[in-house]
């Protein structure tokens, strides 16, 4: 196909889009809705991922020692461990003091000092890398004298579980909507083919290639897909920007700060644009294959 043919095809698809303007707008709208939901889900996934990472990277490993275990031995081992950034030691006495301070009522703890102190000695350990927390925790739990190691894996696990469910739900909804949008594109292009049936019939007698006949319809579908996605991307970007800036102003704890890094957000928007265009192209390709006898 040369440049003249390409120009001709472009013109034809514009004419066709104008002829079925309302249907094209509705089709693009459905694509916009389905991709907004998909995009929303992707943004949510990126943010959930960031949140989990934030929580994980701030997780301290609480290392509780058995009664009578050697504090010095554990300290030396922790000093030698390359994955550990730093640690603080909280003796059982300090622990009790902190505990009673947090309760604000010392009376309840009377009689628990000294020999009767039920709390264990404790190291609060921070890892260099968040990803290493589970493995470091496992290693420390094997040290002699260590009774229990805790790094809040339950919280992380629950978060992962919830976001997993939300992701699946959004994915199913987006797939259903995308299928609906593709069916709508097939119908729209079918109407377009019917409207141009005479022209297509004559084109064959004039020696037009199959691709020359099909291409304007594919362009038409891709334009609908692309327009829909552009609308979805613009709406998503606007909503996300407002949400992100209000969250930042709220000065919430840093681990629910939204992702604003464009290198992570841009691929989502570019991916959506590609997906919308492909959906449009795919829908019209099916329609042209099915309804255009060339």
């Amino acid at each position: 196909m040369n440049i003249n043919s390409f120009r001709y095809c472009m013109r034809q698809s514009v004419v066709s889009l104008r002829r079925n303007l309302w249907l094209a707008v509705v089709t693009a709208g459905i694509i916009a809705i389905s991709l907004s939901i998909l995009g929303g889900f992707l943004l949510l996934a990126v943010n959930a991922d960031q949140m989990i990472r934030n929580i994980e990277s701030n997780v301290e490993i609480g290392v509780f020692l058995e009664d009578g275990a050697s504090i010095e031995d554990t300290r030396q081992k922790l000093d030698r461990h390359p994955g550990i950034h730093n640690y603080t030691f909280v003796s059982k006495e300090e622990g009790l003091r902190d505990f009673s301070r947090s309760l604000g009522d010392r009376v309840l703890l009377v009689g628990m000092e000294g020999e009767n102190n039920p709390l264990p000695d404790l190291f609060r350990v921070r890892a260099n890398e968040a990803e290493e927390v589970p493995s470091i925790a496992a290693e420390i739990s094997a040290y002699p004298g260590v009774e229990l190691v805790d790094y809040g894996e339950e919280l992380v696990g629950r978060l992962l579980n919830i976001t997993g469910w939300i992701n699946t739900l959004f994915l199913v909804i987006s797939i259903l909507l995308a299928l609906g949008a593709i069916l709508l594109i097939i119908t729209t292009i079918r109407l377009s083919v019917l409207a141009r049936q005479d022209e297509v019939g004559i084109m064959k007698y004039l020696g037009a290639s199959n691709w020359f006949i099909r291409f304007p319809f594919l362009l038409e579908g891709m334009t609908m897909g692309w327009t829909g996605t552009l609308a979805a991307a613009a709406a998503l970007a606007a909503v996300y920007y407002r949400l992100a800036s209000s969250l930042q102003q709220e000065a919430l704890t840093f681990f629910i700060q939204p992702v604003t890094d464009t290198t992570r957000l841009l691929p989502i928007f570019v991916g959506l644009l590609l997906l919308g265009t492909l959906m449009g192209g795919f829908g019209s390709f099916i329609s042209v294959r099915k309804f255009l006898r060339v």
């Binding site: 196909m1 040369n2 003249n4 043919s5 001709y8 005479d198 022209e199 019939g201 004559i202 084109m203 007698y205 004039l206 020696g207 037009a208 290639s209 199959n210 020359f212």
Partner: protein, 229 residues
């Protein structure tokens, strides 16, 4: 130029072949009438030459090329050497006369400059340059068919295939159209016309290939519609 060797066309579900064992040769620059009653096989023969359909038997050549074994790209090249004229004109109502003729070049991807030059030339040849901006609905049947001819000749075809081109025209318009075909033929273009219009065939004294029931019953240089005429 066009050569058919024992060509047969059998449609599925039909007892008799639409064309049976046809052998003929048409030279470049000839003017040929295909005559015969309805169902004689004239339209089928035209469809085979255009390679809209494939024969079920025999061989067909166009410029020494086996038409039955063309690949997709070669098929397009083959069709681009042929201009088609139809009984029902097949003009696009929403396009002007100029645009209808230009369409034939646009689908071939020709540049706008060439289209601007060639379309007025073709319209001038058929005597409709002054109607370039009109829409087909505003033209008489004869004029519409001349637009159809302009669309066929604008791409400089080697052959023009016309299936009942005067079927919807009165006698005067038919005569004018045939004069136009004759002028085009004088320029070296081969003309093949399937027709029922015996007066025209008899008047023009061109080569006549008569078909009946799918068989070729007569092939005469400077013939008439029937033997008796």
């Amino acid at each position: 130029m066009i050569q058919l060797n024992n060509v047969t066309k059998q449609y599925p579900g039909c007892a008799d072949p639409a064309l049976g064992d046809i052998s003929l040769e048409i030279e470049q620059g000839e003017f040929v009438f295909l005559v015969g009653p309805s169902g004689a096989g004239k339209s089928t023969l035209i469809k085979l030459i255009f390679r809209e359909q494939l024969p079920t038997g025999g061989r067909m050549y166009f410029n020494q090329r086996n038409v039955t074994a063309l690949k997709q790209k070669e098929l397009l090249e083959h069709r681009r050497k042929i201009g088609m004229v139809f009984q029902d004109f097949r003009l696009l109502k929403q396009k002007t006369v100029f645009e209808n003729v230009a369409f034939a070049l646009e689908v071939l991807g020709r540049p706008p400059k060439e289209i601007k030059e060639k379309v007025p030339e073709a319209l001038d040849k058929v005597g409709l340059l002054d109607k370039a901006r009109s829409f087909p609905d505003k033209l008489s049947g004869g004029e519409q068919q001349r637009v159809g001819v302009a669309r066929a000749i604008v791409k400089d075809p080697l052959v023009i295939l016309a299936d009942e081109p005067t079927g919807n025209l009165d006698r005067d318009n038919s005569r004018q159209l045939m004069d136009l075909f004759e002028t085009i033929n004088q320029g070296g273009t081969t003309i093949i016309i399937a027709t029922h219009a015996w007066e025209i065939v008899d008047r023009m004294k061109k080569r006549v290939i008569a078909l009946d029931g799918g068989r070729m019953i007569r092939d005469e240089q400077r013939g008439g519609y029937c033997h008796e005429h």
